[in-house]
Subunit: 154 residues, 6 copies
């Protein structure tokens, strides 16, 4: 007796991409961490007790990008070719930008977004002892190329 | 010859919490995923090809909370007691709320924030084929209790 | 003095597949979870307190398939192209079927078997509070294609 | 507008065990791997090219037990105190038994079952080149003590 | 019929520590990375293209310490309280020292040794493009306290 | 305002290898574990209570090689084709040699070195109850082929 219809709502799958071509792919994502000026001052002067905030966040973002398919359930495992993360510190905002490259059958948007998210969470963790109301915001894809849908630019 | 000063900037450490008391700890974090009304309609009606978006995001958030100390470099490993994630779907916004509980020597803010972030990234991944400009925003701690600093409420 | 013969029994290796061709590969595995009719009723009606049993099991199976080479020591890491899991609920038995696809130099039998096993263990975990003597059984490969040994059908 | 009822089916949670007492816990699980007599002969004589089948399976089972909360979504992370795996080779069947101990707020049934499953999958992987129709069966809990529900014996 | 004697050699177990007391534990390990003076110069001046060598090595060592029980098969999972890594750069040698603290039923020697090893491997990886014959050496425990065997000092 | 220069020291990246060709790659690394003659005797006779030291170390080394990109921050993920570890037991020294093969755009030196390191740490862990001053030493690359820089032989 077939009851498979019971979990049609939950019918999650890692979509079959066997028929897709392996092409060069790139994605760039960004996000912001909002801190107060005291916290920003401590970050810039190396006064955060837990360590060099941006150096640690950079490593965290790169390592998380490599773990993306182990964090995001329906994401395909990919052999990434390159990951680069930049920080732009403004008055009360740290802008994070992550660029990921790969040659494969699916895009690397999730890897770039995961890199930004992990870097942001790490900045939060490094600074939370001095500021309790840090916010992470505006995480989005800003550029993507490769694959059938071609170029996307925000 | 001692050159340890070279990496003073990078002197990251997982802070020693041996002297702290094990107490009951709880943290609640929230975040938003901004989608357009077409995407929201597809999510609600089960029309997303990759699967039941919120069911998958819920599992992803809970599993990521358990991996927090493997994603955030200076975060302490903790044996979590409970993790709960709720979704609130408004017109063009999905509000995510994660509650984490533990009995330990450090708080669980990072676990709650990581749960929200992973759930948000998963919603993004499940829906990206139908909408290219989804945004993740306003990730923050809204409540915390336990430990020396007591209660925090946003 | 050479004593390498001491561990000839233990001479495990991840076999060198450098000379093999990358071809399209697919494997289908199945397994059963035996529950009593009260448990089956609760699963179907959404009455299990821990959550939607089959939705969670589906995610668990797919995520475990991606981790196969980190669970099975001599298994080769592979970039999987597709993973799909189906459930068939009969009176007192849930039949699980997992299909995995890849283009690579080794087959994906272990990925399919691991997906089935993890989904089965998850059903067990979700239901163990209501039934103490659940059994997992009859895990086997039912179909395989690709590679030198061609098609296998049980 | 509140649409949380949409995912009531999928309302999975890692149940809050904060109110439970930490007690000594133990679980014993078993399972079988069915092989033909040629394969059994090769296992016993060390004739499997991939390595010492049972030695590798033992390590795989122990390592997988430690990963249980990263494989089974709603499982609580635990600091395990002891893991032991035994094999009993009969004519065409390898009986696997795993004993897991812990002092904690939840039981270790899933750790014991996961250890058996991973050991079984590893035996399958080590032998699949010589036998195509190996089966894994009869995975179940045979003993459990500790916690409110006390002793369970099958 | 009992053939368990076949794998007596392979009878690995994660030793049962249920009867041991939870006490404060600390371990300090060290190791060396031998580089030539050109490589040392590049490390100190920030001239390594891959990034700030010691900052990255520090994060890698701390993150690896947390993963120790997932790398070393018979190692017990522990909730570490603190991890600190120091570097001492001499003419052609980088001395690495890792201190790990915990309150638990087993010691943290493996965590300290794993931290040193991962930091050393990371320095190697960051510099290998400029020097092909880097060596990692003299990895050992230099101090340990806690547990029944008390203090060890090298 | 651009403050990115603040973290120039920490500007770690996973170098973009998109322009490199996929070629056959191989690396061989070695390392030593120094034990006293009592410990060596116990290893050879199977008298170590924790299990068959070299069998467990072999599995640990192979599994760690597959995790290299999750341990070493700037390392590229690779689909390895083969991993083999050999042990050579001399009077008071165990020589470990690991050979790793791959077809890819970067070399596998880190995989081979990580395999040796993990095997060495495992031998240490298995024997530390009987000897407190074990040392791991002389970890280095002894051979490498493939890629633009061609063959390296120590």
């Amino acid at each position: 007796m077939d009851f498979s219809h019971i979990n049609e709502q939950g019918r999650a799958k890692m979509i079959d991409v066997s028929e897709k071509k392996a092409t060069k792919r790139q994605a760039v994502a960004k996000g912001s961490v909002k801190v107060n000026s005291n916290t920003m001052q401590l970050i810039k002067s190396g006064g955060i007790k837990k360590g060099d905030v941006l150096a640690v966040a950079q490593v965290a973002g790169i390592m998380a990008a490599k773990k993306t398919s182990d964090i995001i359930p329906m994401c395909h495992p990919l052999a990434l070719n390159g990951i680069d993360i930049e920080f732009d510190c403004m008055d009360t905002e740290i802008l994070i930008k992550a660029t990921v490259k790969c040659k494969g059958v699916t895009g690397v948007e999730m890897e770039a977004l995961t890199a930004v998210s992990a870097a942001a969470l790490t900045i939060y963790d490094m600074c939370k002892a001095v500021q309790r109301d840090i916010e992470i915001s505006d995480i989005m894809l800003i550029y993507k190329e490769g694959g059938k849908s071609g170029v996307f630019r925000k």
